[in-house]
Symmetry: C2
Subunit: 309 residues, 2 copies
Amino acid sequence: MNPFSKSRRESVGALGEEKLIAAIRRWLGRTSPRAPFGIGDDCAVLAPSRGPQLITVDPVIYPRHFNDHVPPRAVGAKLLRRNLSDLAAMGGRPTAAVLALTLDARVSRRWLEAFYRGLAACARLYRVPIVGGDIAQADGMVGASLTLLGEATGPRTLTRTGARLGDAIYVTGVLGGSLRSGHHYSFTPRLKEGAWLARRPEVRAMMDLSDGLAKDIHALTPPRGVAALEPATLPRRSGANLRAALTEGEDYELVFAVAAQADAAHFERAWRHAFPRTRLTRVGRFVRVGALPATAIDLADYHGYEHLR
Amino acid sequence: MNPFSKSRRESVGALGEEKLIAAIRRWLGRTSPRAPFGIGDDCAVLAPSRGPQLITVDPVIYPRHFNDHVPPRAVGAKLLRRNLSDLAAMGGRPTAAVLALTLDARVSRRWLEAFYRGLAACARLYRVPIVGGDIAQADGMVGASLTLLGEATGPRTLTRTGARLGDAIYVTGVLGGSLRSGHHYSFTPRLKEGAWLARRPEVRAMMDLSDGLAKDIHALTPPRGVAALEPATLPRRSGANLRAALTEGEDYELVFAVAAQADAAHFERAWRHAFPRTRLTRVGRFVRVGALPATAIDLADYHGYEHLR
């Protein structure tokens, strides 16, 4: 569905700001708490945190993150899911979200209603109150940016830092073909898996995959190290070749490092017991620069998604 | 300064994402904490809150909130100040901010550097760590949305709800002419005043003025009431007429209700002692619908800034 309306009457501009905000609150339903704990005052008031907090921000922008083939309900859900994936990558769970919308006045009310209803359904599923927002106008623009607050689910928050030379590299799910298959908007953020991994002492560092493994793995790689990925082991989506699995991006899977001295068989058994339906694959290990095995992928041959190009 | 670069070489697109993020961290300097407490991981980790929290989000978008005549440093500062004004309106103080940037690849590096340096200078002044962000590309777009976290400065958070019939209406500063005078980007958010007012029991409700008093006052008006504003009392910026003071918007001043039975002279003396340089004006009171004095402004004759028109 194209976000722009053909008739002025059916546009958000014709509705006007006040009625639009009232409609948004209706579309959000019970995921939108009453002011001052939600939309409707200068700020929203949130309960004190129970411990350290997590915060992340990610957008969806037309036509970069969705096009006319993505149902607007899925666009709203994708916006929240992308941010939930960032929380999952640190072993967190969500507490509240605020939404900044930037719209052309010609955007269709039907499109926007479906967007918000999709966001609300996803917010109910993951119990994320939408506590605030802003609507601004910009010609040609259909975009939204969501800031998600969260908290750790256990005593530890997993970061991208901490992997060491020799550590094994694991990924969840399958890679590549995300845009073609619709995975980029229908994926399940790995919140349960992330929380479980943050409680496993043998897991040293973790992140989520958004720009493709070939690019993202650099952020997890220890100093003086390089990722030795074995091409045969890479879990690929049906129809995705090696290049697609490494570079297409929007996988929203977890990649993490497991200590070299850990009992891998024991760890993998525990995973299968906890997540019998989530594929886990050991795809390689971190080695010293210059010590890349001949069989490993030379990452210099692959580039993930480059923003601002 | 126009945000678009004439030469491809001088554009953010030519710089590329990785170098741009490194440059942004340099421009932000010490307002940008190290990961995982700032930019560079999937989420930023924040210290536990000391009590109830406040959250708000507001954007600056070209050419709606700034044009080529506004120095880019001032645009960056305005983005933070707008959000600080929302915190001030509830008696809060800031704790952390995240920034979502949406840029055309042709935006000039010089423009963006000045934008970030202006934001960083303002963040240092108000001690707001910039803990996270996102950069996305959209054709023709130069915009940023900032989510600001804060906390109450005392036992009470002032909301827009709570004014009663008979309560006096006060405004800080002067109104109107904000765009013409440059006030819209150079204003000082009323954080100190807001915190002081939240501790005064006679103050019942408060908000900040962004779309013009004529429109904004409705949100403060009690049920079955109407604001009786006396035109002669309205504090106007030099050169601003009554209509400008009521409708132009972007005043970023506080408007609040003081209990009818309070000792107004005592309250005003205390204010002058606390804020000898911040003008305070009683501009009217809330009366029952139908009981508007003949001298009062009929707000139906005035409309504030309408978004999405």
